[in-house]
């Protein structure tokens, strides 16, 4: 690692942030996200929360929530965050596959990467782009959390102090949840020719990896461990947890992210630009 590595990484990730928010394409994506999230917040999230808060028979009905896989809703002290937790665990990993699909592929096809690589290392480029995309996603995740906090405070302003830890836990966990997906897209993007191909490969690899490992694990339970290799493997278990318990599974996305980043770095180092 050369002395200018971190400086270049920072410059490249800053440039990605500029691409994410200050270019026409970037701002259009952000506006689309804001509109979609506004409607999720206004209708499904608010109505679900109102239902949980106002429904007097809630305590008796939680068996039904358990049955449909939303049992953890009752464990969150602030219902808005319970509902947010269920939403963001599905939305952000899926969104990550789209947002992070074009980390290097279209620039490589256009030849733009050559202008960058002649004045920076491939490692700075690969990790810089990854960090940039992670920061963009982290900002979107924070924005969804803060908008939900606003909804909570609108309902009851006294909940501010108890809402902050929930907000922190959700934000931290969702950032961790998108980490392996973003790393997977970084690795795929270093190899394929377009963002579309990267997305298609991600879906195919994810489906086959999940299918093959689950198939083998059915006959050889010892192979169950390899399910840890599938990005998002922990999400269904994570959805059942609440508050600080959610950090119990934090090691899984961290390990997955490290493995996928190492793989992506290996591909990037050998890829013809």
């Amino acid at each position: 690692m050369h002395p200018g590595f971190f400086k270049q990484l920072l410059l490249i990730s800053q440039f990605e942030l500029k691409r994410g928010f200050a270019t026409r394409k970037g701002s259009l994506s952000v506006v689309t996200f804001v509109v979609v999230w506004y409607f999720i917040l206004l209708y499904p999230l608010r109505f679900a929360t109102e239902l949980l808060v106002q429904e007097k028979g809630f305590k008796q009905d939680f068996g039904f929530l358990d049955f449909i896989g939303f049992g953890s809703l009752q464990h969150w002290p602030i219902p808005e965050f319970g509902v947010l937790w269920q939403f963001v665990l599905i939305i952000f990993p899926m969104l990550s596959i789209t947002i992070a699909a074009d980390q290097t592929c279209s620039d490589r096809e256009r030849g733009t990467l050559r202008f960058i690589v002649i004045r920076s290392s491939r490692d700075s480029l690969f990790f810089g782009r990854f960090v940039g995309v992670m920061v963009i996603q982290a900002l979107l995740i924070c924005a969804t959390g803060l908008s939900t906090l606003a909804l909570v405070l609108y309902r009851d302003a006294t909940l501010f102090s108890s809402a902050l830890p929930n907000l922190f836990v959700i934000t931290f966990n969702v950032i961790l949840a998108v980490l392996p997906f973003t790393a997977m897209m970084a690795a795929l993007s270093a190899k394929v020719k377009s963002a579309r191909q990267a997305t298609l490969w991600a879906i195919l690899i994810w489906t086959f990896l999940a299918g093959i490992i689950s198939g083998f694990a059915y006959y050889l339970p010892a192979l169950d461990f390899f399910k840890c290799l599938i990005p998002g493997y922990q999400l269904s278990d994570l959805a059942q947890l609440s508050e600080w318990q959610t950090l119990q599974l934090a090691y899984i996305p961290l390990l997955q992210g490290l493995v996928l980043l190492a793989l992506g770095r290996w591909i990037m180092a050998r890829q013809a630009l």
Binding site: F15, D107, R114, F115, I116, V117, L273
Partner: protein
């Protein structure tokens, strides 16, 4: 001791079973622009891509200023104009040039100033705030050359810098290279032999991935025999050959193309052969178009045995 800026030893590259470069060995010193020529598919772009660090060789060793391509020590020292590479369409020209300058270690004010300077060198300062998609092919090529000039690198690798340009832009690019070549060594890959003839003092010839053993030096002042290339208006070829052949000091006259004659002579016997030729042309009332010392680069490279 002056060390070479580029060293290639036993360099090989294979693309999906097809040999692109085979056992390429050469060393180049800093100085005048160096031409890299060869027919299509000869391996010129592959060689430049390996030197720039865009491609890993299958085997062999490459060193630029003593470091492998892509090494951190080469940042700011080596620049390249990759063939057909385009800037990012999402950002303005200035934003990208400033970004490149900053990656080379400049501060933001330094990089901004440098971006403005290189755009001035290519006479396109007014397009700084434009996006790449709004530029013509010629302008985009000049901007791509501008990015290579950032920070005054010691070595610039240009892959087909004039391909697809109109004559005015070709002349602009030639002027830029000539002006910058006092401080920078250029390696120019091109099909345009007249272009290289004008710019380069040394030529590397690649054929089917093999570098020809002798590099061609365009300066013939030390040679035992010299050449003059004579381009005539319509004339009786056989008579011209016979009369030129009869001049003192002339060893051989060839007629490789219609109305073009190459006179090989011994400078010791006839140091002013050009004047003798002019007198002969005048005496026979022929019309000539051009008389130039030496063979054309095309003759030197591809018709060396004749």
């Amino acid at each position: 001791m002056k060390s070479p800026i580029i060293q290639c030893q036993q360099l090989n590259h294979v693309y999906s079973g097809k040999v692109a470069l085979f056992d390429v060995n050469f060393e180049l010193d800093a100085g005048e622009p160096i031409g890299l020529v060869g027919p299509n598919g000869a391996g010129k772009t592959t060689l430049l891509s390996i030197l720039s660090g865009f491609l890993r060789p299958t085997s062999g060793t490459v060193r630029l200023f003593g470091h492998p391509p892509g090494a951190a020590q080469l940042i700011g020292k080596v620049a390249a104009l990759p063939q057909d590479a385009r800037l990012d369409p999402s950002f303005t020209i200035a934003e990208q040039l400033v970004f490149y300058g900053r990656l080379q270690g400049m501060t933001k004010p330094q990089a901004t100033l440098e971006a403005s300077k290189v755009l001035e060198v290519i006479s396109l300062k007014e397009i700084a705030q434009e996006k790449p998609n709004s530029l013509s092919h010629g302008m985009a090529k000049r901007v791509a050359i501008a990015q290579a000039l950032i920070g005054k690198p010691a070595l610039i690798l240009l892959d087909e810098p004039t391909a697809g340009l109109d004559p005015i832009n070709v002349r602009t690019v030639r002027t830029i290279i000539a002006e910058q070549s006092s401080a920078t060594t250029f390696i120019i890959s091109s099909h345009d032999l007249s272009e290289l003839d004008r710019l380069c003092q040394r030529i590397l010839l690649l054929e089917k991935g093999v570098l020809q053993t002798e590099t061609i030096t365009l300066n013939e002042q030390q040679a035992a025999t010299r050449f003059i290339t004579l381009q005539m208006e319509t004339c009786p070829a056989l008579e011209v050959i016979a009369k030129l052949q009869a001049l003192e000091g002339v060893l051989q006259v060839t007629n490789p193309q219609k109305n073009e004659f190459i006179v090989e002579y011994t400078p010791v016997l006839q140091p002013s052969m050009d004047q003798k030729l002019m007198q002969c042309i005048n005496a026979n009332h022929w019309q000539y178009r051009q008389l130039s010392h030496g063979k054309t680069l095309e003759e030197k490279l591809f018709f060396r045995d004749y």
